[in-house]
């Protein structure tokens, strides 16, 4: 198996000796497109200038182009993690390495999590080599109702990492919102409505003297795009009654572009969510009444939401900085709980691309960007892994700090000198 991997790597590096995107074709692949085309067998994908230029069973290929025989292996769009803190924290328990939230900070809506993002964090490489090419990174909920603005980045890990710095604003309601607003849900709703008023009434002329009802001038200005519906708002919320309250807000302020994060009791309000066209980002592993606001948590949340027509993306919430990669296992498990294989793959590719407005990502079609993953098995199976990964047509190393450690210790006791000399 390891030999296969090395051969795969060799192929990739021969395609891109300089590390830049080169034109290439993947032939004889089982292509999951995420479009009306479904899954194409023995298909060819041509990538030119980082973009998919042709797709089909026998497209015309430029003469002399590099060809990779997939031998029937699965090819999918790059996987998208819909909510993680990857790249904001190096070691969870070490505060100096943790930029998820600022419990003692002065600001809320104006916080741009991307300012703390480190594309070179060890967790970015660890996440990438599992096939995740884009991460939506969510600032941590802490002392304020509005956690700040999250971003979407690629997982290339280089200085050229593409970051959509202000992709969305995150608001925490329910138990976390209550805690941030002095102790009750009711108080958090007063505060949130006041914050919308502050943002919508903010003007640069008045702004200088300071403050609205609850937001300072800096936060009020920053919250404007979300309040006007120009920026996506992710609302972290769990309990059915709290979700209904969010839907009432959406009815009052129809301009808002809201998606829900968590939504453990979403299945109880699935029809209302569909009617309001509010998407959800859920973790299908969550099936315990771990809080009183998630008493109805069930592994069938995903199946029931999708069946009701709710736009549903998957993510993995536990240790989301270092284990965002488990979104594939999460999606695979949803299949065991009744979600179709297609819907499960869509929930980690095309659906998040739609929720976050990531044009050109999440599907394989002509004109789409060259984020691609070639697998050694069914991508939703826990025993499968990527054989090759491309971001915008650029082949990615299948190496992380973890694989370096593995290789050092693979033949324990064989080295004649201490292992510190082996690399």
């Amino acid at each position: 198996m390891r030999r296969d991997m090395l051969i795969g790597l060799g192929l990739i590096f021969s395609l891109t000796p300089s590390g830049l995107a080169q034109d290439f074709a993947i032939e004889n692949a089982r292509v999951w497109t995420g479009t009306d085309q479904g899954t194409l067998e023995q298909a060819t994908v041509l990538v030119q200038d980082g973009v998919i230029a042709a797709l089909g069973t026998d497209p015309d290929l430029p003469v002399g182009i590099d060809r990779l025989d997939a031998a029937g292996a699965w090819l999918t769009p790059g996987i998208i993690s819909s909510a993680s803190s990857t790249g904001l924290v190096e070691v969870g328990a070490e505060d100096t390495t943790d930029d998820r939230s600022a419990a003692e900070g002065l600001f809320s809506a104006a916080i741009v999590a991307a300012d703390g993002f480190n594309p070179a964090a060890a967790s970015v490489g660890v996440t990438r080599i599992e096939g995740i090419t884009r991460i939506a990174v969510v600032p941590g909920l802490s002392s304020s109702l509005i956690a700040g603005q999250g971003f979407v980045a690629d997982t290339g890990g280089t200085a050229q990492t593409e970051v959509d710095r202000k992709a969305f604003t995150v608001i925490g309601l329910g138990e976390s919102g209550a805690a941030a607003s002095g102790g009750s849900r009711a108080a958090s709703w007063v505060e949130l409505r006041a914050a919308f008023e502050d943002a919508l009434s903010f003007s640069e002329e008045d702004g200088e003297d300071g403050t609205g009802h609850v937001l300072n001038a800096v936060d009020a200005r920053a919250f404007g795009p979300a309040a006007r519906g120009e920026q996506l708002i992710l609302v972290a919320v769990s309990r059915a009654s709290d979700i209904r309250a969010v839907l009432r807000l959406k009815a009052e302020m129809p301009q808002l572009n809201i998606a829900l994060l968590g939504a453990e009791e979403g299945w109880l309000v699935a029809d209302e969510l569909r009617a309001a066209e509010v998407a959800v980002i859920i973790d299908p592993f969550t099936n315990l009444p771990s809080r009183f606001e998630s008493l109805a948590a069930t592994r069938h949340n995903a199946q029931r939401l999708i069946l009701a027509g709710v736009t549903t993306a998957f993510t993995h919430f536990d240790d989301s900085s270092h284990q965002a990669r488990l979104v594939l296992q999460v999606a695979g498990n949803s299949v065991a709980s009744g979600v179709s294989h297609d819907d499960a793959l869509a929930a980690i590719t095309s659906v998040p691309a739609d929720i976050f407005g990531l044009e050109g990502l999440g599907r394989i079609a002509v004109g789409q960007r060259g984020d691609l993953v070639l697998w050694d098995g069914d991508p939703l199976e826990v025993m499968s892994a990527p054989k090759a990964i491309w971001i915008d047509g650029e082949a990615q190393p299948l190496e992380s700090r973890q694989t370096r450690l593995r290789d050092r210790y693979l033949d324990l006791g064989q080295a004649s000198r201490p292992l510190a000399y082996s690399r």
Binding site: M1, R2, R3, D4, M5, E90, V91, G92, A93, E94, A122, S123, V126, A240, E265, L268, F285, T286, N287, L288, P289, S290, R291, F292, L295, A296, A297, T298, R299, H300, D318, D319, S321, H322, Q323, R325, L326, Q329, G332, N333, V335, A336, L380, E381, V382, M383, S384, A385, Q402, T403, L405, R406, Y409, L410, L412, G413
Partner: protein, 469 residues
């Protein structure tokens, strides 16, 4: 274990044969030595009613590395009566067609906090760690167990038939762990695995020195550093050795009985070989220090837990004979977990050391088979020659060994407890679920039968009650 049982037997004889033992003592010139009741909270577990069941035409993993395709397993009287390529059904046996399905020993999680950190995780339920002092060997996890934790039934749906419930890891000595059968019950005693040895939870590294030391600010308390941790272990073992000597003098007829000390009772049990040490220890270099401490004081570590760096000293662990209980891929949430790699479990196995997949999680415990699958696949990709049949040892036989219950469960062998899972397909697949879970031959979980899916008191009357979780 043996000396414990003998002592209990002796006590029982005294009580049964000589109801007036105490009176006799007073009249005799020689006073009978004081004994310590080592089992004051005895198991009241009784297997549920079971029928004779023949599982037919399954892919059978025996949990010892063996695999039978199209095999049969016969369960009767709560035991495994026969298994093999072709087993004939006794008259009256219920025959379950398991064609296309897999049959394995039940999963045993040797690191769980179900019941002691139950759902919902409200403040009032935070019973998993007696953080009040760095040495709390006197506390027993079973006294914190809430049998109504909905997590037990979720673990059952994941094929878990037994588990060790441990105290948390703030302390150097966190207290006694307890091994449970995964059966719904009204009391912790009714879940206790009969005759399973007690265990002692210890912890290395960051947690003790943070909780008692630098986490309290400067100058903090003791221990403040890793060397403080080691001094704390050694000081406690030295006290335990003196305590044990005092009792042994008393039992040999010299001197009065020492004053009972619940903390030292537990440590003495370890030094007597009756209580198994399970030690939270991430870093390779710290495990090596702990192995020396155990040699110094004459005990043995049964298993290192969360051992993310075991791959660095897999040879030392094999020589010493300790198990490593590991996650497939958790890493980086604290400094001592920073060097976690996906191949840890298979590399430990390859070195000839005992490898265990553990959860430490109410979510992870629901799919330990998948954690083994990930580790297996990563090991195979790294060039290790491993099979699914071999990997199942990480889920049942090895954890059973680490808990001292392998003579009763943990493998498909004739005469063993019928703790068995029938999977809908290959349990190394994301798409597979446990269809049937047997504990001592009784069906404790049947995915196709609503009346055979347990619902805890807490879930009654709440939204989603009785939902297949």
């Amino acid at each position: 274990m043996t000396s414990n049982l003998l002592r209990q037997a002796g006590l029982a004889v005294c009580l049964l044969v000589f109801p007036a033992c105490a009176t006799l003592e007073n009249t005799d010139t020689e006073v009978a030595p004081t004994q310590i009741n080592t089992n004051p909270f005895p198991s009241t577990y009784r297997p549920l009613d079971s029928e004779t069941v023949l599982l037919k035409d399954a892919t059978v993993l025996d949990g010892l590395g063996g695999r039978i395709d199209g095999g049969d397993v016969l369960l009767s009287g709560g035991r495994i009566l026969a298994y093999g390529q072709e087993v004939s059904a006794p008259s009256g046996a219920r025959i379950i067609d398991a064609a296309g399905r897999w049959v394995t020993p039940g999963i045993i999680d040797n690191h769980s906090h179900l019941g002691v950190y139950p759902s919902p995780g409200v403040d009032a339920h935070s019973d998993g760690n007696e953080i009040s002092a760095p040495v709390t060997a006197e506390v027993w996890a079973e006294h914190s167990i809430w049998p109504q934790d909905p997590g037990f039934s979720r673990a059952l749906a994941g094929g878990v038939t037994a588990m060790q419930i441990l105290p948390g890891s703030a302390n150097l000595f966190g207290g006694r762990g307890v091994t449970l059968k995964n059966v719904p019950a009204r009391t912790a005693q009714a879940m206790k695995f009969p005759d399973a040895p007690y265990t002692l939870k210890m912890a290395c590294g960051e947690n003790p020195k943070r909780v008692y030391g630098y986490g309290r600010g400067y100058p903090g308390g003791t221990p403040y550093s890793r060397m403080g941790n080691v001094a704390g272990y050694r000081a406690a073992w030295a006290r335990a050795a003196s305590y044990k000597e005092a009792w042994e003098r008393h039992w040999s007829g010299e001197g009065d009985a020492p004053e009972r000390d619940l903390e030292l009772d537990t440590l003495m049990g370890v030094l007597q070989g009756d209580i198994l040490v399970h030690m939270h220890c991430y870093r390779a270099d710290e495990m090596a220090q702990v192995m020396d401490i155990s040699r110094e004081f004459g005990y043995h570590v049964a298993s290192f837990h969360h051992a993310v760096e075991s791959y660095k000293i897999a040879d030392l662990l094999a020589d010493y004979g300790a198990c490593s209980a590991m996650w497939a891929d958790w890493w980086g949430f604290k400094m001592e977990a920073y060097d976690g790699i996906r191949e840890n479990i298979p590399l430990v196995h390859r070195a000839g050391a005992c490898a265990i997949v553990h959860s430490d999680s109410d979510i992870g415990i629901q799919r330990l088979n998948q954690e083994a699958a990930k580790a297996l696949a990563d090991g195979q990709r790294a060039g290790l020659d491993l099979s699914k049949a071999v990997a199942w040892q990480w889920l049942s036989a090895n954890p059973a060994r680490s808990l001292g219950i392998f003579d009763q469960t943990g493998s498909i062998e004739v005469g063993k407890n019928a703790d068995i899972v029938v999977w809908s397909g290959d349990p190394f697949s994301s798409f597979t679920q446990a269809d049937l879970v047997f504990v001592d031959g009784a069906v404790l979980f049947d995915r196709s039968e609503a009346s055979l899916i347990p619902v805890s008191d807490f879930e009654l009357g709440h939204p989603g009650e009785g939902d297949l979780k």
